[in-house]
Amino acid sequence: MKNFGYAINSDRQIDYDSNDHRVARYLAEHEPSFMVCFACGTCSATCSAGLFTDLSLREMIGNIKRGEISKIKSEAEKCMLCGKCQLACPRGVNTRNVILTIQRALVKYNL
């Protein structure tokens, strides 16, 4: 059959009920500043690790808020904790502790 370059995308519907909100709740408790993030992406733009890999804190926070945490572990491990994002963040999010807290939550829930 001729390939016209079309494909069927996988379903992007977000099912909040079936998603895993444990990391989000743990973060809200231990580093509540992550909730004021308005996803501007300054952190990702300045990220030292972002030069070498596709780490994006903006994306991670969004995914955690939605409860889609399957990729979080491999992402959180890439952070060098250099702190550029924290100085760049216009909302004063304690980004370094957001990363550490995510890592702690992953260990706690054995994810």
Partner: protein, 604 residues
């Protein structure tokens, strides 16, 4: 008569104390790292032991550093420590003169006045040896009692002692301090009652005894008073190993180990026990801690943090909220390695956290004799790296800007978060990159990088902060600078000053082009800018509290600009500073003669 049942509480208390100390210390020392044990063995019979003994005398007895902090505070500590020491030494000498025996039971000198009651000392007898001792012993007792009076006064008003806040005490501390405070008044009572009964004593015990005897039955009360004195001594000895007074014997051990060259490791070990038990909880660190005083966070000052380690209950908040600015270490009269203790706990808390930098590939760099590594923070303050490039070019230095396209973090932030393994991975990467240039000098703009490059990378080349490199270029006549007439205050970055001991070089550079005015707190007393990567816990608002305090001290003499030598300090301070905050490299470029000529040319 050389025995009475009342000596038992003291005697048994003393034996209990000695046994507990011997058991604890021998267990800790047995578990020391083999390298540390070798150091102790190598140095124990050298002059290092003598020097350590000298320091014990100056610090543990005379409390020199406490005197420097505040005269009243120093006198209070000295009167207790030196006074008690002299009481023991003179008491022993006195008892030997009386008994003419060289070996007395240990309680004999302590309770000498009970066992030996001479008649009243006549005026001409005061010049005899026993008479001199009697006056001396009363004088020493008076000195200790004056210290006790000061200690009670300090409870009510610590301000007079140069301290805004004093430390809070645990239950064991309270028991120990109550018995300690009772010891000397009870000794006074016991000796005075006995002096009144037998007409003994000297100016203090004799006159106080006859005053008491004028309305109290001195002879009946003397014996119970000796019992009470002995009980207070015994009680103090038994509670000592479980209270903050454990610092008395432990600090002496620590001073000796330090002179032998033993250093704390990144991991909590048995040597750390000596460090944490040496804390007297004097509370001098409380006012020094910017997180406590300016960011209103409790439990952070070492007095509390080290106590939590002694109780084996370190809290994540007091472990991670600290800025690791190191100001408490500058104040600590015992010289405890507090940052090392805090780091060792972070390592324990973070041991199970993952992280990996497999995505980094082995990069190499072009060969050059001078390599410049800007670091992450300098990339956030691009004017610093631009200034550095100009300075290199102006001085005709062949250099390679190895992280021009962006840095891999130096590893210090991960190291300070307790993630040693991940930090080492980044270090390996950077080390390979830097060594591939074959450089003989590595210049860094960020003091955070500087500290870890110097201490953990193990590289052979010379590692300089840019303030040192600029000074060298000025000294070699490679940079021609002219004064621009600014009055500036210099902010000592934590990692550059306290962290790496670089205080003079930046000041010398600044004097080449500006007038340096004093800041409120300088050098090792400098206040952290608040931006430190040492803390992961405290939030932006609390950091602002620290920044404001730093700015207040910097603005004390109303400078035209604030100069620092750290991109992170610059970025943090400039947020709320009433004047311009510049890095030392930026002001150097402004002072370059050639730049002025260029600027004049463009204006014409």
């Amino acid at each position: 008569m050389t025995f009475d049942f009342f000596v038992l509480p003291f005697f048994l208390g003393l034996i209990t104390l000695l046994v507990i100390l011997a058991v604890k210390y021998s267990r800790w020392i047995r578990e020391f790292d083999p390298a540390d044990k070798a150091l102790i063995k190598k140095n124990i019979f050298t002059t290092k032991s003598l020097r350590a003994a000298g320091e014990v005398f100056m610090e543990s007895l005379l409390h020199r550093k406490m005197f420097r902090k505040n005269a009243l505070l120093g006198y209070m500590h000295m009167s207790f420590a030196m006074g008690w020491f002299l009481l023991i030494v003179c008491g022993n000498l006195e008892s030997r003169i009386y008994s003419k025996v060289h070996l007395n039971p240990p309680y004999y000198p302590i309770f000498l006045k009970f066992f030996v009651h001479d008649h009243r000392v006549l005026a001409h007898e005061l010049l005899s040896i026993p008479g001199v001792f009697r006056v001396l012993m009363d004088a020493i007792l008076l000195m200790i009692l004056s210290g006790l009076a000061l200690a009670l006064f300090k409870r009510a008003s610590s301000r007079w002692f140069g301290m805004r806040k004093a430390s809070k005490h645990s239950l064991y501390d309270r028991i120990a301090i109550t018995t300690l405070w009772l010891i000397f008044p009870l000794r006074l009572l016991a000796e005075s009652f006995t002096a009144a009964t037998y007409e003994g004593g000297s100016f203090l015990t004799n006159s106080f005894g006859s005053f008491l005897g004028s309305f109290l039955p001195a002879e009946t009360l003397a014996y119970p008073a000796w019992w009470a004195y002995s009980l207070a001594l015994g009680g103090f000895f038994v509670s000592l190993p479980y209270s903050r007074f454990m610092h008395i014997p432990t600090e002496i051990m620590l001073i000796f180990f330090r002179h032998y060259g033993v250093k704390p490791s990144l991991h909590f070990n048995h040597y750390s026990n000596f460090e944490i038990q040496s804390c007297p909880k004097c509370g001098v660190c409380i006012d020094a801690c910017p997180v406590h005083t300016d960011a209103n966070r409790d439990g952070i000052p070492p007095a509390y943090f080290l106590r939590s380690l002694r109780d084996r209950q370190p809290m994540p908040s007091s472990t991670f909220d600290c800025l690791l600015c190191g100001r408490c270490e500058s104040y600590c009269p015992v010289g405890i390695n507090i940052n090392a203790m805090r780091l060792s706990q972070r390592v324990e808390f973070s041991a199970h956290l993952n992280g990996s930098f497999r995505y980094l590939n082995g990069a190499t760099a072009r060969p050059a004799s001078v390599a410049y590594f800007a670091g992450c923070m300098t990339h956030l303050t691009p004017s610093i790296k631009k200034s550095m490039i100009m300075i290199f070019k102006e001085g005709g230095v062949e250099f390679n800007f190895i992280d021009e396209e962006g840095s891999v973090c130096c590893g210090r932030p991960l190291w300070m978060a307790g993630k040693e393994k991940q930090a080492r991975e980044l270090m390996e990467h950077n080390k390979k990159l830097i060594e591939s240039t074959g450089c003989t000098t590595l210049v860094l703009s960020c003091p955070i990088c500087l500290k870890v490059f110097r201490e953990e990378y193990g590289m052979k080349m010379e590692i300089l902060h840019h303030s040192q490199f600029i000074l060298r270029m000025i000294d070699q006549g490679k940079l021609r600078l002219s004064k621009h007439g600014l009055r500036v205050a210099f902010h000592d970055p934590c990692e550059l000053g306290r962290g790496s001991g670089i205080y003079e070089e930046p000041r010398k550079v600044i004097r080449n082009f500006a007038e340096l005015v004093a800041a409120g707190e300088e050098r090792n007393m400098s206040v952290c800018c608040g931006g430190s990567l040492g803390s992961t816990g405290i939030d932006a608002e609390r950091r602002d509290g620290v920044s404001h305090q730093a700015l207040e001290t910097l603005m004390q003499n109303r400078p035209d600009a604030i100069v620092t030598a750290c991109p992170l300090c610059k970025k943090t301070l400039q947020k709320d500073s009433p004047v311009v905050v510049s890095d030392i490299s930026e002001l150097t470029v402004l002072a370059l003669e050639t730049k002025k000529i260029e600027a004049a040319a463009t204006m014409n």
